[in-house]
Symmetry: C2
Subunit: 330 residues, 2 copies
């Protein structure tokens, strides 16, 4: 009989497909446990067991999660939201101390991935093509005046998430306004080519890129692609593998790129399961099983390109029902 | 053996749950056929049969649909998008001539429902509480100066759909800008109370309200509620039944209301299945079966309030896959 394996998905929110993919990978060998700070997160009611927990900024948060790990005999955990990744990375040893292998990259890589200005400088230092970026108004003004760059440009917070305070700026007034939106605003070249999203699994044991899945985003809705199409390009595989060799990420990560006249350009990295990961899974690229193999102490064999192109993923709404006494009178 | 019944869902888009609800209501007695102008509409690949068709504004559209009705022996059809409802209503006899009972309200009611200014005047004339509305800048300016109304207000096109050009206006400059957004802009009192959505089925044969389902919208995402909770209120039932008695709608419709200090206030009516109808179905309020009964020539018995309160509907993403040769190289 195979040993029990229990998986904890933190801040699981609306990512219902991922819950079912882990349940399939476990095939009855253990539980998928989910947490969220809102009792209205659908994944709570799709998992085998669930907990409503404090917000990640609450001092009780980490003790609560570690307690759930002990109580549910959790073997591996992962988070689905960017602001929690640094917390997992910084406290990885506390998880390991209670028998949990967190799916998280080293703290240095996570902190760099979360700060788009740090990531930009890292790419420049390592020769990785990325949109030209400015973190201060004076330098950008000088470059605009020198004709090194031209409007329109794209403004966003260096540490933002969920598309907050992002915008295209088309003139000087909008640019001045954009710098004031957040204390850590950065301004980038506006990418106008095709938007590419790559799911990558980097083995927790060997540190090698084991699997990757490339798709073109065909339509965005509420900050994520709800229609996408799979494709393959050996040049993209090399780009991703070369980047991962220096960037230090581990486990499932998500890379956003754009196509430019000079090839691919790396926009940002989210060191967690990407929002469009279901496309990869439905094409046979099964990261949950790779993670479970790592958690069992086994390395995965690299298997790049094990999927077909031209498969479209088309998203639509599914619902889960739950009765919450008194909710309609709140 | 029961007769075959085939259902045609026009402009089915991403409304995958509705396809499965009709399939369940048919229970193998016939096909659900879907159409859309985009080959990337997920409902195409969820239905028993499907057609990619011209856009509704194309002169070939109606002949194409009537041809599908004949070829697929369609018994009833319905559309899921507002701009198509007038077309169905205006050409209802052509559908009937090919043996189809369209689920559509009379043309007068449909045209009134599509024009929010006409709907406002209809409500005022019939004593139905509705937000105070202005269709011209001069009258509104006079009322603002007389202190009859105060900013902020809410601006939208009288014939808009999918949340285009809607906005809250907080000062005179924003108001002036809003009037220019579309040729048919209207400005309404800003409703700040709870947002209510009611699904109603009005029998095609008796014209009576047979069933209704009330929910509070708990969170909006991409123009629709992705979290809602069921509730019951006899005062709301009376409001809806009284409104429907004069408004002339038929079949499944969707009514948006707000709670005010003086009771419910009717915001707008969409004479089609509402976007949050899955909540009603999952609580046992089965409009597809009511429609099939009507199509078979039987009236439905009124059955108001046959559901429980405090059931939350929580939406999340499901996906359907399809291979489209060459799509990744387009």
């Amino acid at each position: 009989m195979e040993p029990l394996v229990n998986v904890l998905i933190l801040s699981a929110g609306s990512r219902g497909k991922l819950v079912s993919y882990f349940q399939r990978a476990l095939a009855g060998r253990g539980n998928v446990v989910t947490t969220d700070s809102s009792e209205l997160a659908p994944t709570l009611y799709l998992a085998d067991r669930h907990y409503v927990v404090p917000r990640i900024t609450d001092p009780d948060y980490l003790p609560t999660i570690l307690d759930i790990c002990r109580r549910e005999s959790i073997d591996t955990c992962l988070s689905l939201i960017d602001p929690e990744l640094a917390l997992l990375a910084d406290h990885a040893d506390e998880f390991r101390a209670v028998g949990v292998t967190p799916m998280i990259s080293p703290a240095e890589a996570v902190h760099r991935g979360f700060n788009k200005w740090d990531m930009y400088r890292f790419c420049v230092d390592n020769g990785i093509p990325t949109p030209r970026t400015w973190a201060d108004a004076a330098t950008l003004r000088a470059d605009l005046e020198a004709g090194v760059v031209a409007l329109p440009l794209f403004a966003k917070p260096a540490t933002g998430s969920a598309s907050a305070n992002i915008r295209t700026v088309t003139d000087a007034a909008e640019l001045a306004e954009a710098w004031a939106l957040a204390p850590d605003m950065i301004v980038q070249e506006l990418m106008t080519g095709e938007a590419i999203d790559v799911d990558v699994y980097i083995d927790l044991i060997t540190g090698e890129v084991i699997s990757l899945f490339a798709k073109k985003k065909l339509r965005m809705r509420a900050g994520t692609a709800d229609k996408s199409v799979s494709f393959k390009d050996p040049a993209l595989d090399r780009f991703v593998i070369d980047f991962c060799r220096v960037a230090g990420f581990r486990g499932a990560i998500d890379i956003d790129l754009f196509v430019t006249d000079d090839g691919y350009s790396l926009l940002e990295v989210n060191p967690r399961f990407g929002g469009v990961y279901p496309h990869a899974y439905e094409c046979g690229v099964d990261f949950p099983s790779m993670l479970l193999r790592n958690v069992a102490g086994e390395a995965n064999e690299p298997n790049i390109g094990a999927y077909e192109e031209d498969w479209a993923m088309l998203a639509y709404e599914e619902v889960v029902m739950t009765r919450i006494e008194g909710l309609s009178r709140n």
